[in-house]
């Protein structure tokens, strides 16, 4: 089993709050080029269950201004795919929670798909989230390679995704489904309303084989609680990046504590 699957089954043992998974997204190379490993260590220390490491891209289509800016700054700081792998070389000596790389397909295509997957396995990456790698292409060309290196590919589902397609995605997934909270790019949130809660309930009631983890628009304890009332967990990205921008790494422990407090 892979660390993501282990973590998810471990969470299954707990009822209530303790059973809810908190995942954090941050952009590698932000705010400083060499912050990556220290941020990972602090997130684990403060009780985060899983981390998505953003591989910065010049043209992040699905991201709002906060993650766009952090990506641009990370690239300006000199972050590259190769440097990220160098930084992560010994990460498994100090960090044991599941690690996922989230990025766009083009930089990975340039690195070489198989070479990238191999490197992920070497440094201890457990999964990939590539929003612009579509289901059909994945199944046809990449599924076997990902499997060979024990990498879990995570697909997105949105409020507009049809039930049929959700079932197809569920079949193709073997970790969790990333439930995008609203029809929106990242970082757009005024909190959740009835529509979103109905949507979470609707997908939750489909009895899928993969657990649901909600992302986009979760920024504080209230939205975390709303997002996870019907699902297994939630991912926070833009709100965490904003914390790093404002308080630097010293803000991490307070931020994580504030999410878990309710």
């Amino acid at each position: 089993m892979n660390r993501i699957q282990n973590k998810l089954s471990e969470k299954k043992q707990h009822a209530g709050k303790a059973g809810k998974l908190l995942s954090i997204y941050f952009t590698a190379g932000y705010p400083k080029l060499d912050d990556t490993v220290e941020i990972l260590q602090q997130l684990e220390k403060n009780g985060v269950d899983m981390v998505e490491i953003g591989l910065p891209f010049s043209d992040p289509l699905a991201d709002g201004p906060t993650i766009q800016e952090s990506s641009q700054l990370a690239l300006k700081n000199g972050m590259t795919t190769e440097i990220l792998f160098q930084q992560l070389k010994d990460v498994r000596k100090t960090v044991s929670i599941p690690l996922i790389i989230m990025g766009y397909f083009n930089p990975i295509l340039q690195y070489g798909i198989e070479g990238f997957c191999k490197k992920c396995a070497e440094v201890g990456i457990d999964g990939l989230i590539l929003p612009d790698l579509p289901l059909s292409e994945y199944k046809e060309h990449y599924h076997e390679i990902f499997k060979k290196y024990n990498l879990i590919n995570v697909f997105l589902v949105t409020p507009q995704t049809s039930d049929d397609r959700i079932r197809q995605i569920d079949t193709a997934s073997d970790g969790f489904i990333y439930l995008v909270s609203s029809s929106s790019v990242t970082g757009n949130s005024d909190g959740f309303d009835e529509n979103q809660e109905n949507y979470f309930s609707r997908v939750a009631s489909m009895q899928l084989k993969n657990p649901l983890i909600v992302g986009f628009g979760i920024k504080d304890a209230t939205t975390f609680k709303q997002a996870t009332s019907k699902t297994k967990g939630a991912i926070i990205g833009s709100a965490f990046i904003k914390t790093l921008a404002r308080d630097g790494k010293s803000g991490i422990s307070n931020f994580i504590a504030s999410i878990r407090e309710v």
Binding site: F57, D132, Q160
Partner: protein, 393 residues
């Protein structure tokens, strides 16, 4: 070999739909419907009528006598510069606004670089009474003030793209993000043969009226359907796609795609994607694009704002790698000279984009009896400022 799109949305190895799941329902809706809608008699009737009465088609195929004499070959100009709004762009926006209406969309978004596609989109939205939002790079808004004013006069809202390099590729990113945020009521009118399938094919089909007319017109003038060569400039590649379309699989017709070399291919300031690009993903399509070794998309340069796109459409990427198309890159200087030459020899002021295609006659020889059709994609009024500065007029 077939150089058109296959049933999976690929031209050879290029194309596809590399889009986030958030866009899937929109793009899928379009994919499932576009051929059916375009095949409907009522659609064709309305499209053809608007092209005739509103756009002013057919545009003339003009024998450029003095230009032909100078280069000792037979040069015809397909006068897309005479279309309403001054360029071929409107062929596509007319088609797509009719598509949007049939799909029940009430809100139109588009990206624009120099502003030509923005103006063509704002025009058809005014014609149909639909809400229109144009994304334009903040840098381009400053460079292209007259077109910004035109869009506003036509009732469009112009939204500055402030991300990234603040030019065309970023305007396209912003339009895509807007579509993610408005998945139900909005249609995105892409201006070129780029983006996820079915856009490249749909836009090429709307622009294919250009080569359809060339065939008929050449019969009248030369008693033959096929020229020896068709030449067109390529940024994303929509005018070239339209001019090549009905000749793609006819190997007797040479297809010449003309890219902007900017200050020279090796200068670091260029937009010659075939020479400088590698296979990758941009705006949902697998194609050739200019990028760093690490896969970050780079900013192109050309004196012509309509050609500085870091990729080319997948049809053109396939024409290049298969060898079916002949790719020539033209520097700023050569394009500007060729543009001014057309003014002096034929009394036609071309757009700087189209001037690139005219510059091939300095670059390569044609036989005396060769029939060469150059797609004159747009008129030069919008470029007067650039011409004035360049030639100290």
């Amino acid at each position: 070999m077939n150089y058109n799109v296959n049933e999976k949305g690929y031209y050879g190895d290029f194309g596809g739909a590399y889009i986030p799941e958030m866009l899937y329902p929109n793009v899928e809706e379009l994919r499932q419907n576009y051929l059916k809608v375009m095949g409907e008699e009522s659609f064709q009737k309305e499209f053809r009528q608007l092209l005739k009465e509103y756009v002013g088609r057919p545009t003339p195929l003009y024998f450029a006598k003095r230009l032909s004499e100078k280069y000792n070959t037979k040069i015809y100009l397909k006068r897309e510069d005479l279309c309403h709004t001054g360029a071929h762009k409107v062929n596509n926006t007319i088609g797509q606004i009719l598509m949007a209406k049939r799909l029940g969309k009430t809100r139109i978004i588009a990206e624009t670089g120099a502003g030509q596609h923005g103006v063509a989109t704002a025009t058809v939205c005014a014609l149909m009474g639909l809400e229109c939002i144009i994304f334009m790079g903040e840098v381009d808004i400053k460079r292209q003030a007259p077109n910004v004013a035109r869009m506003k006069m036509l009732g469009a809202k112009v939204v500055p793209a402030t991300s990234g390099s603040k030019t065309l590729k970023d305007a396209t990113n912003e339009a895509i993000r807007d579509w993610i945020n408005n998945p139900v009521d909005t249609h995105y009118i892409i201006g070129s043969v780029v983006g996820p399938h079915p856009y490249p094919d749909m836009v090429a089909r709307f622009q294919s009226v250009i080569s359809e007319e060339i065939k008929t017109q050449l019969c009248e003038k030369e008693d033959r359907e096929n020229p020896d060569f068709v030449a067109a400039c390529v940024g994303g590649g929509s005018n070239a796609a339209g001019a090549f379309y009905h000749y793609l699989d006819n190997l007797d017709v040479g297809l010449i795609a003309v890219e902007a070399a900017g200050k020279g291919i090796d200068s670091g300031e260029s937009a010659a994607t075939s020479a400088l690009g590698k296979v990758g993903i941009i705006h949902g399509s697998k194609t050739l694009l200019m990028q760093t070794a690490d896969g970050q998309i780079t900013e192109p340069y050309s004196i012509s704002a309509g050609l500085d796109y870091p990729g080319v459409g997948p049809m053109h990427a396939n024409l290049f790698t298969s060898g079916r198309g002949e790719f020539i890159s033209i520097t700023d200087d050569k394009a500007m000279k060729a543009g001014l030459e057309l003014c002096k020899l034929e009394g036609i002021i071309p757009a700087i984009e189209s001037s690139h295609a005219l510059a091939i006659f300095e670059m390569r020889k044609f036989k005396k009896n060769d029939v060469v059709v150059v797609n004159l994609s747009g008129r030069g009024d919008k470029d007067l400022d650039t011409f004035i500065k360049y030639f100290n007029l």
